[in-house]
Point group: C2
Chain length 512, copies 2
Amino acid sequence: MNGAESLVRTLLASGIDTCFANPGTSEMHFVAALDRVPGMRCVLGLAEGVVTGAADGYARMAGKPAATLLHCGPGLANGLANLHNARRAAVPIVNLVGDQATHHRPLDALLTADTEGWARGVSAWTRTASHAYAVGADAAAAVAAARSAPGNVATLILPSDVCWNQGGVVARPLPATPPQAVDEAVIEAIARVLRLGEPALLLLAGPALYEGAIADAHRIAAATGARLMAPTFVTRLERGQGRHDLAKLPYPVEAAVAALAGIRHLILVGASEPVAFFAYPGKPGLLYPPGAQVHVLARPDEDGAGALAALAAGFKVRAIEAVAGRRPEPARGPITAAATAQTLAALLPENAVVVDEGLTFGASFYEAMTDAAPHDWLQLTGGAIGDGLPLSTGAAIGAPGRRVVTLQADGSALYTVQALWTQARERLDVTTIVFSNRKYAILIGELDNVGAKVGKTALDLFDLTDPALDWCALARGFGVEAAQVQSQESLADLLRHTNSRRGPFLIELVIP
Amino acid sequence: MNGAESLVRTLLASGIDTCFANPGTSEMHFVAALDRVPGMRCVLGLAEGVVTGAADGYARMAGKPAATLLHCGPGLANGLANLHNARRAAVPIVNLVGDQATHHRPLDALLTADTEGWARGVSAWTRTASHAYAVGADAAAAVAAARSAPGNVATLILPSDVCWNQGGVVARPLPATPPQAVDEAVIEAIARVLRLGEPALLLLAGPALYEGAIADAHRIAAATGARLMAPTFVTRLERGQGRHDLAKLPYPVEAAVAALAGIRHLILVGASEPVAFFAYPGKPGLLYPPGAQVHVLARPDEDGAGALAALAAGFKVRAIEAVAGRRPEPARGPITAAATAQTLAALLPENAVVVDEGLTFGASFYEAMTDAAPHDWLQLTGGAIGDGLPLSTGAAIGAPGRRVVTLQADGSALYTVQALWTQARERLDVTTIVFSNRKYAILIGELDNVGAKVGKTALDLFDLTDPALDWCALARGFGVEAAQVQSQESLADLLRHTNSRRGPFLIELVIP
C-alpha cells in the first residue's frame, strides 16, 4: 500500500468521508487512491477559496470536519482567506496540501513556496509528512487536532513522494480532546455575580448558540434579570418560530456601545471580549463600558452549553416557553430591506439554513427574520469577504434535505463566484439571493466612518456599474438557473418556485 | 498632511503612477488621499488575484512597478499566488497592504491575521509602517527595493492609524540598485570555455530575452557553435518576424532531457539551473546531463544583456541577420492546435503582446508562432495557475496602443475570471482566446506521468462538462463581448474583427 492509500483509509477510519478538492500534479496519487478505496465523497471546486469555504460550511452543519485537497503553497494561499474565517469560527477542517517531493524541494522548482509558513497563520496544528510509513499516523493526528475543542484547522502537508512511496500503514483514530467541563467553582462564582442584581449580560458563542443552550440562558435571564446576547457574527445559531430569540451585538461601533451601555458584569460563554471590528479615529476599541467587569463562564474550548445548564439548574427556574411570534405575510411592492426580509421570513422553508453575507443591505435581516420557520443562521466570521457562496455550498452537502438560503452582498459574492458551478455540479438545494446594489456600499459608509471625505476617485473605486454585472448571465455561465426580481411579488413567486424543486437557483435582487 | 497623503505623494515622486486596488476599510484614508492628490491612476479589481496579477503584467510591459492596494492579511492572502508568480519572474511590484491600526492590533479583532508572516514568502523586502511621519520614507524605500535588480516584490504594510495620523512627510526617491556589470574576468572565463569547442548551451532569461540581447547571443552562437535556449517559462521575450528565433526548453521531463542531451557546458545568463517542474517517480530532477559543467555568465541581478554584448564583441562577429520566415496564411477547417496557432500567427497584429497560459492545448503555440508579426511573449512564471487574465489586464495598461492576445486554458482561467470585468471597465485592448476543452487536460496527463491509474473518481475530478461552462455567458456577465468559434474560418473572422476595434473581446475556442 502506498502512502496515499494509507492516508485515505485512515481518514475514512477516522470518520472523514467528504473531501473538497482542487488538486494538481502533486496530489495525483491521492486522487488515484480514491479510485481504489470506496467511501470518500469528492467535491470539486474551481478555485481554492471555494474549497476551503465549503469545508467550513460542511463542518458547521455536519458537526464533523471534511478534508480539503489543495495544490502546493500557492493553492493553499488561494484558500487562506476562508481558512481564516473558519479559524475565527472555531470550525474543524482537515486541511490537506500536496507539495513538492521531499528530494525535489531543494531544487527550488518554480512552484516551490513556503507552504508550511503560509499554513501556520490559520492552523492550530501544522505538520509536513516525511515518510510513507508515517503518513497514516499523521492523518489520524490531523483529524484529532481538527476535532479537538473548540474545533481547529489542522494542516497536513503531503510531499508527493510520501504519497507515492510504498509502506503506508493505516492508523487507528486518535482521541480528540472534547470540550472540558467548566469547574463547579467557576459556575458558583458566576451565580454569585448574577445574584448581586447588578446589570449583567451573558454573551454566548459557539455551541452555546444551539437551541437548548439558548433556552437555558433564558432561564438564567428570567431568574436574575441578566441580559443575553450573541456576538455580531455567529458560526451557527438555531432560531425561528418556537425557539427563544437572541439579539446580536450590532456592527457599528456607536450602536454596539449603546447596546452594552450600563453593563456592570459582562459574562463570556464561549465568546471573546467584544471589540470593534476596525479602529476608527476617536472611537473606542473595546465596546463594553470601561467600568464593567469581564467574567468567563466558559472559554471557547470549554463546554459552554453544559455550564449554562448547570447555572440554570442552580437558579431552580423551569423551562421558559419561547414567545410565539406570528409568521409574517409576504410583503408587497418595491425592493427595500425591510420588505425583502419580511417576504423571506414568510416563505423560508422549515428547517432552512440561512447563510448571511448580506453586509450593508442585509444588516437588518437577522432581527426581521426572527419569526420565520425554525432555521439555522450562519455567518461570515472572520471578516474575509467572499465566504457566502462557498459556505452555502458546503452547508448544503453537510445538511442534505434542508434548503440553504444565501443572503449575499454583490461585491463580496464576486470573490468566490466560482462556487456556483459546484452547486450546479452537485445539484445542491441552494437559493442564492444576490443583493445587487452594484456598489461597495459598505465602503462608502466606512469612508465616512473614518472621517475621510468622499471624492470622485473614491466613489469610482466603490462603483460596480461600469459595466454593471449581469448576475443572471454569470449564474448561467456556471450552470445555475437564475432570474432577476424588482418587486416583492416576483421575489415571493421565485421563492415559492425554488422551495418546491431541487437544485440551485440564483435570484438577482435589484436594489433600486 | 496625513500619512496617507505623504505616501501617495512619495509614490508619485518615485515614479509610481498606477495602482491596482481592491481596498477595504483600513485603506480608506489612502483612497481619500487619491482625491486630494492628482496623478495616480487607480484600477479596480474584483478580487485580489486580479490586482496582483495585473500589477505583474503592467510592470513587465511598462518597465517599472505599479503599486497594489490590498486589504489586511486575508486580502493579501488572496493575492499571494500571483505575487508568487511575480517573484519567480523577478517582476517589481510595490505591494501595499492596509491593516489594523497599531493600537487596535492587540485586541485581535476578527479580521486580524499574520499579515507580515504571509507577505514574507513572496517579498524580497517587507516592512510594517509604524508612524505617520515615517511612512513617506517607508514608501520610498519600498519603491527602491522593488526596482532594485533583478526586480522584486516589496511589501509595505500600512496600519490604518499610520495613514490617518497627521505629520506625514513626503520623501525623496531613493536610488535602486541597478543590475551590476559582470566582471571582465568572468566574461573572459566564459569565452575560454566557449573556445574549447565542446558542446555548450547558453540559457538566457530576464532582460537577456529582449531583442538586442538575443541578437548578441546569436553572434556568440555563430562564432562558437554554442546553442541558445530560453527557459520553459519566460517573463517577456521579444520575437516574431525580423527578429532572431530562440527555442524554449520543453516542459515534459523526457523532452527537456533530450533537448539538453550531450551538453558539456551549460552557461546561465540570468537563468536558474533547469530543473523539472515536478518530481516524478524514477525521473531525474536536474534536466541537464550529469557530467555537464554549469557556468554563470550573469546572475539574475547582474546585467546579462551587457555581458552578452561584451562576450559577442570579444568574438569579433558582426551582427547576424535574422532568418526571415514567411508569415503564414490563416488556416482552414476544424479546431486543432496546429491550425489555431497558424491562424493566430497569420493574424497577430504588429507589436502585439501575447500572454500565454495555454498549457496543454497551447504547448505548441510558441514554436508555431515564430513567424508572426513582431510581438512579446509573456508567460505564467511561477506555476500558480490563474495568471493569464490578470497578466493581460495589466499588460494592456502597461503597453497602451498594443493589442494583448491571451492564450488561455479554460481550467486556469476560472481562478481569476473576474479580471474580465476590469478589462471591460478600463476598455482594454485585450483579445482573450479561451481554449475550451472542458477538462483539466494537464492533470489527466500528469496522472499518467506519476504512474497512477486513471479511474472514474479521478476522471470526474478533472471533468468540467457537468455542467459545461458557458464562456460567452460568463464574459457577458462581466461586461465583455464574446463569441464562440468552432472553425478556423470563424476564428479568423473574429480575430480580424477584434484587431480592427478597441476594447476587450473573448473568443471561446471550442476544442472538439
